[in-house]
């Protein structure tokens, strides 16, 4: 137990003897140090004794700076000097100072390597004899930092869940809507190319009917994996637009690049060779792809761009499925077909 320094400066009401006050500060779960204007220690509570490994007997009436072999950190010394001189309270934030005092988690002997994270508050105290003292309160910031890390990782995980399609692991429609608005806006503002792919699994309803929904689910997962395997830029991501329909935004990709990617996607899914006995276009699972490319400096807006992608996909289906159809959207409401060879022949 600490003993109150012989020249005790405190006064307590008759109800509370010095003894009780001592019990109180030794029960407090943060560090309390009181120093006089010379930096001599007048109070050193149990918490600080435990976490510094320095018992009160060795600390009291010694100078704070002399207790620690490495002395005190410069900001700590400045703060202490300023409090005593100007009598204004000061905080040393954990973010800017981390561990100003050599304090350690318990048991101290096992933790000599890692100092405790601290927040420190200096409060001026003037005694009835006009003596200037400084109360130093130290709190352990470790827990709050841990709590913050946990919250942060939770919120990262929830953010991920909120934009992910549970079945396929692709991004979901919510993600698509936000990303598409942002990317289209960027393409417009910066007059840069943008392509959008819409694709649909051919005769998927028949597949489900024939092989059952669990098989249908598995097929969708495989399709997404195949699509992902063909996309190498971090900005090109697969989103599940609905049911068996997927969308892929290709920022900075013009019609040429977009068409190459689309064809690779079609080939990759076909290459999975998932048997599909009720498909009218092949004996395995295939996809139809519509792709639309943005022409900078035209009046095309996000809505008509999206509609154009849909139109392109419709054409791909109309033209026999398992193929790619491409539109450029130069003016709103007037998407025009690109002059490309008709045949995207089924494998």
């Amino acid at each position: 137990m600490n003993s109150i320094p012989a020249k005790n400066e405190f006064a307590f009401s008759g109800e509370i003897g010095g003894n009780i006050a001592e019990n109180i500060w030794d029960s407090i779960k943060s560090g309390l140090i009181l120093v006089d204007s010379e930096g001599k220690i007048l109070l050193w509570n149990d918490w600080i004794a435990q976490h510094s490994g320095i018992p009160a007997e060795s600390a009291l009436n010694h100078f704070l700076g002399s207790l620690f072999p490495d002395g005190l950190a410069a900001p700590f010394k400045t703060a202490l000097r300023n409090v005593l001189q100007h009598k204004l309270p000061i905080i040393l934030s954990n973010a800017l100072h981390r561990s100003p005092l050599p304090l350690y988690p318990l048991p101290v002997a096992y933790h000599k390597q890692d100092r405790m994270q601290q927040s420190v508050i200096f409060t001026p105290i003037v005694t009835s004899e006009k003596k200037r003292l400084c109360l130093i309160q130290v709190t352990d910031a470790t827990l709050s930092i841990k709590r913050e890390r946990v919250l942060k990782s939770h919120s990262e995980r929830l953010n991920k869940v909120a934009i992910t399609d549970a079945l396929t692991g692709a991004y979901n429609r919510r993600f698509f809507d936000e990303r598409f608005t942002a990317e289209f806006g960027r393409a417009q503002r910066q007059s840069i190319p943008l392509s959008l792919i819409m694709l649909d699994v051919d005769f998927f309803k028949d597949y489900n009917d024939r092989y059952g929904h669990p098989a249908g689910d598995k097929a969708l997962i495989s399709v997404v994996e195949a699509l992902k395997s063909q996309l190498h830029r971090p900005t090109d991501v697969v989103t599940r637009y609905g049911g068996e329909e997927f969308a892929i935004i290709l920022p900075d990709s013009g019609s040429e690049g977009g068409r190459i990617v689309a064809e690779k996607l079609r080939t990759a899914v076909s290459g999975l060779n998932i048997p599909h006995g009720t498909s009218s276009v092949a004996d395995h699972l295939t996809i139809s792809i519509g792709i639309v490319s943005y022409q900078p400096d035209t009046s095309c807006n996000a809505t008509c761009f999206l509609e154009a992608a849909d139109t392109a996909l419709y054409r791909a289906k109309h033209d026999g499925r398992n193929c790619v159809r491409h539109l450029v959207a130069p003016e709103c409401g007037k998407p025009c077909p690109v002059d490309t060879p008709q045949a995207d022949s089924p494998d």
Binding site: T78, L88, I91, L92, A95, L96, I121, I145
Partner: protein, 203 residues
């Protein structure tokens, strides 16, 4: 009656620039680089005149560090700055100490410390120059939409007078403009001015 003479404004500007110098050296110690802080001008307003324009704080959100101080006169001192720029500076300050990703919430505490340094420096230089003793509460930090923060200031009806210090702060490559405002009652202002006049006549 509640206006300040040229001489009084000059004296206040001088006092606060000395404080700004002190704050700059404390900040330099933390950052390990040169910090420049100056108070180009001081103005007195009625709270009804206070808005984002008079304070030159045009940003959707403001951060504020507030300390209440008492002594021969009482006032609430608030440091106001645009949240975005202040965060940048705090990030820079922290970058020299810790890994950025560790700190999201600790920005607030760091912001509190930044404000505390600047407010204390201004208060202590005022106390020193005017030869008086001021006590202060611990700093409290809050951040909010600009109109909400400003409404808080204006709604202090018993402190209708507002002394505004425009502040320029440069840390490393960053530049931040902020405001230090003192919310005063009419009688506190008169007491402050009496001290200022005594200071001026003593020069």
């Amino acid at each position: 009656m509640n206006s300040l003479s040229e001489l009084q404004l000059d004296a206040l500007t001088e006092i606060f620039n000395i404080g700004a110098g002190r704050a700059a050296s404390s900040l330099s110690e933390i950052v390990g680089d040169e910090v420049k802080l100056s108070v180009p001008c001081v103005q007195l307003y009625q709270s009804s005149e206070i808005n984002a324009d008079t304070l030159s704080l045009n940003s959707p959100r403001l951060g504020a560090v507030r300390q209440h101080f008492s002594g021969p006169f009482n006032a609430d001192a608030m440091l106001l700055f645009t949240e975005e720029r202040a965060m940048e500076i705090v990030h820079d300050m922290m970058a020299s100490q810790v890994d950025i990703e560790d700190v999201a919430e600790y920005e607030q505490e760091a912001m509190c410390e930044l404000g505390n340094i600047i407010l204390n420096a201004c208060l202590s230089s005022m106390a020193d120059m005017l030869d008086l003793t001021l006590n202060s509460s611990l700093p409290v930090y809050f951040v909010g939409a600009t109109n909400v923060v400003l409404r808080q200031i204006i709604s202090e009806t018993n402190q209708p007078l507002i002394l505004v210090l425009h502040i320029d702060l440069s840390i490393e490559k960053r530049h931040l403009q902020g405001c230090l405002v003192f919310l005063l009652s009419s009688s506190s202002l008169q007491k402050l001015l009496a001290h200022i006049d005594r200071f001026i006549s003593g020069i």
